[in-house]
């Protein structure tokens, strides 16, 4: 896969845009999954995915090939997504946590994945965007503090501090909303 990436990137830098189409098709699923974490509106998510690929094309000459192409793309994706959050108003389209009363009777392991994702999205949306981004990348994208620091151009100490602060805030929010009781996860 990586040699195919290098071949397409080289062709693209020589002016062959169709080679870039190959790269788009190869990675649009992974980038869509990432950008879905930034917006759960399909229309907005699609726009963000497009923006990631356009930005990647315009800065393709800066790709040095030290890391896999997907890692480089994900870095751009995180920054595009973070910028998107910056542009949004503070009180955006979050789902009130009270709407999840319906899942009270569900067994612990049978909460629908999309419902679980919606709950998390609502919880995280109540955090400052930098803290939100750190936890989102940690829990959804399984990124380490080092990877997050590299992606966003922050120091590792800042990432750790934000993660600590975010988890503490999240605990306060979840306890205030009695979330774990609603989910039936506390007996």
């Amino acid at each position: 896969m990586e040699s195919a990436d290098r071949k397409d990137i080289a062709a693209c830098l020589n002016g062959d845009k169709n080679s870039y189409a190959n790269l788009v098709r190869r990675y649009e699923k992974q980038i869509t999954k990432l950008m879905w974490r930034f917006s759960r509106d399909p229309r907005v998510c699609e726009e963000l995915v497009q923006e990631v690929f356009v930005e990647a094309y315009l800065s393709l000459s800066s790709y040095r090939g030290e890391a896999p192409f997907l890692h480089w793309m994900r870095r751009i994706g995180s920054r595009v997504g973070y910028r998107f959050w910056k542009q949004q108003a503070k009180a955006k389209s979050t789902v009130p946590l009270a709407d999840f009363d319906a899942i009270e009777t569900e067994a612990v392991d049978k909460v629908d994945p999309s419902v679980a994702a919606e709950i998390l999205h609502s919880l995280l949306a109540q955090l400052p965007r930098a803290d939100r981004l750190v936890l989102m990348l940690m829990y959804f994208e399984k990124c380490s503090t080092k990877q997050i620091a590299e992606q966003m151009g922050w120091s590792r100490a800042v990432v750790k501090m934000r993660a600590f602060r975010a988890r503490r805030k999240l605990k306060t929010i979840a306890e205030r909303e009695n979330l774990w009781e609603k989910l039936g996860w506390i007996h």
Binding site: A21, V24, T32, Y57, S114, L170, K171, A174, W180
Partner: protein
Amino acid sequence: MDTLRAFEKLAKQAQGEKVPSFDVTAKVLQRIRFEEAESAGIVAFELFASISAVAASVVGYFSIGALRSVTSPLMQFLTPLQEVRIW
């Protein structure tokens, strides 16, 4: 249950969510062409602006030189009158 453990559990379940799929290839290529056309237009404009600035500088330089050689246009008109004897 510890809050963070519960959160991790929720995150693990959320991983199984089906994410919508898009085909953005055509739109991406269209946007790239548009961006490139726009930047080409900007480059042409900047080139025109640069050439205009250079031309204006050259004209300005020679204009100042010419202006310095004329002491006062009004005096040139009056000086012949001063030399005329009126009596």
